[in-house]
């Protein structure tokens, strides 16, 4: 993939994450902050499909943005074709693992499995 496409994704995910995290924080203000962290309230959030989808979107956006950012930093620290391949594929794998693990949590909480 061309670097410009990767960077477009990088900037896009940043903007998307800022917008959705803002919504996520504003939702905490619909009640007292301490109440919003009560077990039942958190579970209710996961049971509300649009909110669960938003959490999934935040997870994907932040994972993609964060691991690409880390990839860029690591590419600047050291060079070499083997190292760069390792970093590129390693970042992709880490991204996929984090998304899979986070999605599993969202899915299980949404289905009421604890």
């Amino acid at each position: 993939m061309r670097e410009s496409i990767i960077m477009k994704i990088h900037y896009g995910t940043a903007l998307g994450a800022v917008a959705l995290v803002a919504v996520h924080i504003l939702m905490r203000m619909s009640q007292k902050f301490s109440d919003s962290l009560q077990y039942q309230n958190v579970i209710t959030n996961y049971h509300f499909l649009p909110y669960a989808l938003m959490l999934e979107a935040i997870l994907i956006l932040l994972s993609v943005h964060g691991f690409n950012g880390l990839r860029v930093i690591l590419l600047e620290l050291k060079q070499g074709s083997t190292y760069e391949k390792m970093i590129n594929y390693g970042s992709l794998a880490a991204m996929a693992i984090l998304i899979a693990y986070g999605s599993r949590t969202i899915l299980m909480a949404g289905m009421g499995v604890s």
């Binding site: 670097e3 590419l75 060079q79």
Partner: protein, 257 residues
């Protein structure tokens, strides 16, 4: 060769107002990596006038104290880009920097950062020149061969203004030396190469835009610029490579056509 103390404040003010030559200490970084010589500094006491340039001070050392000091220079008028070095920690052209404007009695000259050192103040420009060539620094178009029917490629002053300042680049390497990305990413094209790519991309006579955009759109290309802006700060010719990089990014992001 001698180590001297900086003149006391009263002496300093006296010398500044008089027309007598001031005396400064010139510290020259010495090293010879090919012979495993560790970096060190040689110090020399140099008489200077208010118009003396750092290059003239170095040449004074070569003429009077130590002819083995390695320094690259040619035109002495900021046109050839040969005498780039770090002067009191800041990349600058030695021929274009007057000792008097440094406001110090101790001048330290070192080879530029981010370049392999050949010896003392002379650095290797191989990578800079190779990156410059990689940008295809010439007008690309099918009909560029001159024929009897050839007509000049007409440009308006507005067309010219888009790239003119970037054509003032003298390839002195100061921008690459000041670039923080180049310090860690040795494969980075660098502000000089990227500014040259923009110079030709913005030229309406050129048809090689797509080729050049492909070259800079690399994992060690244009996207690795952090926009620190130090390249533009140190350019002795008033070129603004940081701006060129941002404008070039506009083409890749689709904001500019």
């Amino acid at each position: 060769m001698a180590v001297v103390e900086a003149p006391k404040p009263s002496e300093e003010s006296n010398t500044k107002t008089s027309s007598q030559p001031n005396t400064i200490t010139l510290r020259i970084a010495r090293s010879n990596p090919s012979e495993g010589q560790e970096p060190s500094f040689s110090e020399f006491q140099i008489p200077v006038q208010k118009w003396t340039t750092v290059l003239e001070a170095i040449l004074y050392v070569k003429q009077n104290f130590d002819h083995s000091v390695a320094v690259r220079y040619s035109c002495r008028q900021a046109s050839c880009g040969s005498c780039g070095m770090k002067i009191n920690g800041r990349p600058a052209l030695a021929c274009y920097t007057k000792v008097s404007e440094l406001n110090s009695n101790v001048i330290t000259v070192e080879p530029m950062n981010n370049f392999p050192i050949i010896r003392d103040l002379a650095v290797d420009f191989k990578q800079l020149i190779s990156n410059h060539k990689k940008m295809k620094p010439f007008i690309i178009r099918e009909d560029s061969e001159v024929t009897p029917e050839s007509k000049e490629f007409i440009q308006t002053p507005q067309d010219l203004e888009k790239f003119l300042q970037f054509s003032y680049c003298i390839k002195c390497g100061l921008c690459n030396s000041a670039c923080p990305t180049m310090a860690t990413d040795t494969s980075f094209i660098g502000p000089q190469g990227l500014a040259q790519a923009y110079r030709y991309v913005a030229d309406n006579r050129d048809k090689g835009k797509d080729d050049r955009l492909k070259i800079v759109d690399d994992s060690h290309g244009i996207w690795r610029c952090h926009f620190a802006g130090s390249c533009s700060q140190v350019c002795p010719k008033g070129v603004d490579p940081a701006m060129a990089i941002q404008l070039l990014r506009g083409y890749l992001l689709g904001f500019r056509k």
